[in-house]
Symmetry: D2
Subunit: 353 residues, 4 copies
Amino acid sequence: MTPVRVAVNGYGVIGKRVADAVALQPDMELVGVADVATDYRVRLALERGYRLFGSTAEAAAAMREAGLEPAGDLGALLAASDVVVDATPKRVGAANKPAYEAAGVKAIFQGGEKHELAGVSFVAQANYAEALGRDFVRVVSCNTTGLVRVLGALRSEGLLERARAVLIRRGTDPWESHLGGLVNTLLPEPKVPSHQGPDARTVLPDLDLVTIAAAGPFNLSHVHFAVVEAPRETTEEEVFAALRAAPRIVLVRAGEGVEAPNSVIEIVRDLGRPRGDLWEVAVWEDSLAVSGREIFLTYQVHNEAIVTPENVDAIRAVTAAERDPASSIALTDETLGIRTELIPVAATAGERV
Amino acid sequence: MTPVRVAVNGYGVIGKRVADAVALQPDMELVGVADVATDYRVRLALERGYRLFGSTAEAAAAMREAGLEPAGDLGALLAASDVVVDATPKRVGAANKPAYEAAGVKAIFQGGEKHELAGVSFVAQANYAEALGRDFVRVVSCNTTGLVRVLGALRSEGLLERARAVLIRRGTDPWESHLGGLVNTLLPEPKVPSHQGPDARTVLPDLDLVTIAAAGPFNLSHVHFAVVEAPRETTEEEVFAALRAAPRIVLVRAGEGVEAPNSVIEIVRDLGRPRGDLWEVAVWEDSLAVSGREIFLTYQVHNEAIVTPENVDAIRAVTAAERDPASSIALTDETLGIRTELIPVAATAGERV
Amino acid sequence: MTPVRVAVNGYGVIGKRVADAVALQPDMELVGVADVATDYRVRLALERGYRLFGSTAEAAAAMREAGLEPAGDLGALLAASDVVVDATPKRVGAANKPAYEAAGVKAIFQGGEKHELAGVSFVAQANYAEALGRDFVRVVSCNTTGLVRVLGALRSEGLLERARAVLIRRGTDPWESHLGGLVNTLLPEPKVPSHQGPDARTVLPDLDLVTIAAAGPFNLSHVHFAVVEAPRETTEEEVFAALRAAPRIVLVRAGEGVEAPNSVIEIVRDLGRPRGDLWEVAVWEDSLAVSGREIFLTYQVHNEAIVTPENVDAIRAVTAAERDPASSIALTDETLGIRTELIPVAATAGERV
Amino acid sequence: MTPVRVAVNGYGVIGKRVADAVALQPDMELVGVADVATDYRVRLALERGYRLFGSTAEAAAAMREAGLEPAGDLGALLAASDVVVDATPKRVGAANKPAYEAAGVKAIFQGGEKHELAGVSFVAQANYAEALGRDFVRVVSCNTTGLVRVLGALRSEGLLERARAVLIRRGTDPWESHLGGLVNTLLPEPKVPSHQGPDARTVLPDLDLVTIAAAGPFNLSHVHFAVVEAPRETTEEEVFAALRAAPRIVLVRAGEGVEAPNSVIEIVRDLGRPRGDLWEVAVWEDSLAVSGREIFLTYQVHNEAIVTPENVDAIRAVTAAERDPASSIALTDETLGIRTELIPVAATAGERV
């Protein structure tokens, strides 16, 4: 089978990860990456051996000026591609859509764009089928992806009637360092409910979810605290089973020294993962509590990494390179190294739960 | 009427604030403060003109050695006092209780001690009467005080059936600076529900409250995110009215530039308050949302300051210097400068809600 | 004597402090404060009883709209004033100068403006006489003020031939809370030497000083690390004597528990200072080391507060309300509560050095 | 040639990195790793396929208890090894030395141990030859290694007469998350000069270096600000040439978007390095300034990673597996992926300096 030819437009936090992930897929070919920058970031794309394009003609010219020897502009990239992953900043994707349509390539947008731009908002385990063969799909944001994975896992097993969640978001990205900003305080979002609840409903219709969000002075992950009400009394065992049955969720344990998001990131660094990426949602097993119909959950969403596998699956869905969701997820997970347990569970730990 | 003679044992974050507040009360006399330190902190007690005592004979000796000229040890302080506010570190209060009993002084303990030590856990607006004339009372912790004030205000008005809250606590106190610690991460408490729910029930029996807690890399306040379910449908107006009817709660507005806990602290600094203390719970008006029976609240609890007025009221309660809760609260609030609005609301703002 | 009539234009971090300080001076009258905002900050000016003016006609109109009842615009304020302290953002001061000239009021600018705008850059202890009777004076920035106080103190006593200093600046102001920003990293200023060295020479001509600057993820003070070379061998005693002989410098001691800038701020909070302001430079006594001709210094510059007394003195200088520098400094220091020791030194501590 | 059989005792921040680096060497064999923990960290050692030993008999028993199936205790590990890298916490190494002597294995200690324990303190580029064939060698700490690399590079080229440096250290390690700690402040070390100056002289005798140190609320790297005085006037070109001539130093440029330590770490993450490790010292090219005889330098020392290659070289030195320093360094650098430029320099950038 001919590999799907994939372009990545926007080589930032998400774009560079998607590019690397695409390059690992046996059924895909990374045609090249496009951006508007000429600084160290795109030089590293060249370093990785990727063909570099200017996202605009001007960008291509600036790259040439800077000695970067781009392979052309976006038009050239699209002409050689079947599908483009648009990982440009918020709202730039919408502006790019006509170019994608004109070039006849399918496009995957990110969560910064509106649902209506693509018509289908996507989380692989939730609605892969809905995206099959579509021209445009939107991979939802990191927070929404985390919510859909965890709450969707519970709903699939009949354990979710409604959910209320507090999202404490990272204040900035690890690579950023501007003066001013978020120091020694939380910053609550004034709008309650925050947008993630409605956004999750673009993937899981009728999900009864309200979210409250705030940002904190740290940069390594979001943390969600969710209170779920099941339609009936349940047990920790049932909840664990539901979480384990879903892909891309791992359980971690403070009792084993994994006390905080930074310990989880230390684990994925130790696992040798690229950029210390945590593609899975990490749910704290110790903090998970069930009381009657209520389920209390604390979990970590690695904002930089969580949508990487979703983008890969979205490519397969829109191109119909794979029609079976589970097969696509399995292939993505195997190539990236996504796990069901981050750390090997000792023999004696079997009786833990 | 003879002023109540008050001792403060433990001159730390809470003790020093309570000492200052007591010194402002017309019906109280601050006999002195006791501590075990000889460093800058107790030198500042002398600077303020407080009589200094050693919390132990050894501490008194060390103070003498350090040239601090203490007025004696704890026994001497208690002998001249009617009531002692014990603001020593967690569990030291329990060890001090026999000395208080032997000296025949009443004692106010803090939230680090167990409820059973005192038998009465106290938040002025909730259960002042219960503490009247008791020998021992425990002022609950900052987080529990915040929860009781806000949730108690709603319950009083028939607006609370149950509450679920996420508490993001400050990671350390502003004066502390040890190597190691909480940097660039949240630290979830592994135990869910956290202890604050049961603790609030020592003040508000049968309160249906579950809390989840985590600490963050900041030191200036806790922030609570609460989801309250009322027994019936309600409105924002009703909720605002309930909050305004309760003492020691103020509303703040992101729309007026008060976006985060640090802006609130800036206001109280601008108001000229000692140490930039926020004695009130600050509830964000913009973030307050009501949907059917559900109420969503975001509010700030200034961990250093919130229990100061509670301790003052507790002194009046145990000594029966004032039998009417509202009168005690009003006197405390007037002497400290506790307000019903932190910032003057403009004339035109009257129609806001 | 008629009090000097003072206007403050710009009611931000510096303006509000200068307004409060002016209001405390027996020989000054605060006519009013002007700003462009209508949010909580200017409401608090009204709360303090200050007359509020719009910095522009539009701002005055917006204030009226917001129900703030301003007393007029900048023209009205200047018409009633002898001198204006311009504490507007960087470069706005330059734009305001013609209005001040037209109104015939003298003006004090801040360190964000260029030296040339005023012709005299000012630190009270260094060059008060130079500002006497001038129409325009510029109070230098917080960092430069700190450098001039400490290095000037050493130079006055013949202990400074050259100085090299590393300035670790606070990343943002305590009241600010934008997303993005400085988290979990230092941010070095790419330009070395940084501008503070040349800036200090506007006050202390021929000062041989080179500075390197960086910002850190904290908001409560700058810290300077200076290496000074004296023209001859010296001793710690000589250095301490020089520092003690200069105004607005205090020594603090890690050995007494004052380990870090946040402990120093805790002290000034405990001293009951408005906003927890540290007007003095705090030099660590324990960290001060002398080796041959070299002097190593670590000291704290409270960016929010350090220029407050300088502005007060500058007002006296330009209006010639007081011709003697020492008398002006003494009066400012007494009214504000500026000290020579932050914490009382114990009797036995006399032999410490 | 038989590979050198290497044991790693202490599988923490340094030990795990050294183990991975040893496993990459063609002339070494990693026999196993020993530790006292049974938590997630050692489980990850097993995950990597390393043989796990208990650092003590008790630890081995606890591991067995925890189902970890250790291969034995330290004695067993040493019996199968030629050399042990001791990466245990400060001062534990000294306690371990008799066991190493008894087992007849050579040992590499870390910078937490005193120089006297080993007799030779080591930085590969500075004194490899001195360590040849020794039984004990101490790899100096991260800060000292950074100082020796940079200052040694200048001294080798006759550009260093004396140096004064301010070291702003990271406040904690990325994996740690205790309550309390360093928030919103710097923490100056009270002792000046700090210990790094004398420590650097254990490697570079007679180095005229004084250091001042402080810690900050971040966890991703140390940053040094150094003022070097050359014996004669010099130029930026000479300094760049000296730095480029030395191994394990890279130049980075704020002008290319690499503004702060976190951008540098982003680069090494993008380069796919394990754990985002920066083995080189990163010197800011833009911030490097020369004035007469003075050189001003700003550079980053990645505390987690910088000593990894030094330990590998130290193994070769003590076992005399390689007698030529440059050959050992070259082999280590090639196997790890240590670079002379982190980012590819564009063709046009050649004329930059």
